[in-house]
Point group: none
Chain length 126, copies 4
Amino acid sequence: MEWKFRSDLPIYAQIVEQFRQSIVSGKLSPGQRLESVRDLSMEAGVNPNTMQRALQELEREGLVYTQRTAGRFVSEDAAVIERGKRAMAMEKIREFLSAMNSLGYSREEILSLLSEEKEEENNADS
Amino acid sequence: MEWKFRSDLPIYAQIVEQFRQSIVSGKLSPGQRLESVRDLSMEAGVNPNTMQRALQELEREGLVYTQRTAGRFVSEDAAVIERGKRAMAMEKIREFLSAMNSLGYSREEILSLLSEEKEEENNADS
Amino acid sequence: MEWKFRSDLPIYAQIVEQFRQSIVSGKLSPGQRLESVRDLSMEAGVNPNTMQRALQELEREGLVYTQRTAGRFVSEDAAVIERGKRAMAMEKIREFLSAMNSLGYSREEILSLLSEEKEEENNADS
Amino acid sequence: MEWKFRSDLPIYAQIVEQFRQSIVSGKLSPGQRLESVRDLSMEAGVNPNTMQRALQELEREGLVYTQRTAGRFVSEDAAVIERGKRAMAMEKIREFLSAMNSLGYSREEILSLLSEEKEEENNADS
DNA sequence: GTGGTCTAGACCACC
DNA sequence: GTGGTCTAGACCACA
């Protein structure tokens, strides 16, 4: 994982984002054990409290769970993960549409531009 | 304008982005005079050199032009501005598709999700 | 290379000119590594920033390219170099015609004088 | 007249060049009175001795002459002026051919490029 | 006042 | 070590 933080969002929220992304994309597998809070916080160069807060948020969302003494693990509940994935996707979509909107593009134009990009990519493939 | 800078892109590049966005979206009108380098740099809280570099980049792109002692102005060439707008849109699209891709969505799924979002928005409108 | 600077053109632009000249004339070979920014700036007796700016301009023109940590290299793209060569030649020609013009020579006279010079040189050869 | 000096040639020589240019191109007319050494040196921002040396050189070339108490005047000898004009032209030509040569262009290519430039200019006229 | 250039020197990421 | 970025502050030409 790469740990770079923007200044426009609390660090703990950025950590949550990153974990969520890794989990729903499968980069972290269901059932996989996470490193300890202490190790993770050192890697990320943040205060252990910050890392702790992020992990608790993920737990609240059901994406990770804790086993008393063994540590934290990625959820094995496919439905929960799928739900998180959808949520992130819709978030990206809203961001995207909002950005295109502020550039002055209508829905129809956006779809048309998406098609163009697809064609370009196909050309690049050939 | 809001001047907050991320750490994952050079400041001068973020300034360029911001101006480009404002120009192609029409928030800055063709022919409009920009504030002086000194004033802008103070507002943004950056060194005058950094602001200068950003503005020169915009000039190279044709989005602004300089009049020796009078200041800098937004280009009045609609074709140049349209070109910049298209370039920014394609950039956003590529970012979006890449993000959706790393979440594990195929092109077809992306289009399908876009439709869902549209419906939701329509419902929200009504 | 000789590093003497006139006062009628920014130093960075004169450095660009000098490199461009060396590259298109083949004095710097395609693929050849340039010295580091620091070394070049010391040799030329200018600030590293000034040298950096010149090299970035050359990069924008495609005449050199950068490899992250290895340094800068002369482009190996013959078409780009040929284009630069033509551009410099046309520039010299325009300067020359303009100078002759302000001396009061017409196009026909210029061509005639060029022939004279050729003959003189031929005589000098024999 | 504009007085900017390069550092690659003695200032007095650059002054000579400038006067020679003005005289042979007719910008200074035959018989015209030059300003005093004192005034000229102040305008140019150089030491009076430097200006004096330049004017003596021009006198040696016959391009100006001195009348004891009335001052210095541009030569009225058309042959002398014509000779100076030719000398300057041949100098420009040699510089030009040398520059093109170091770019790697042969005599034939130079003539061909000159023709191209002529055409471009004609197009620009239309 | 405007933009433009330059120096001096710092810090960063990368390898 | 490499290139890249940024700051601080000076000086210039132009009008």
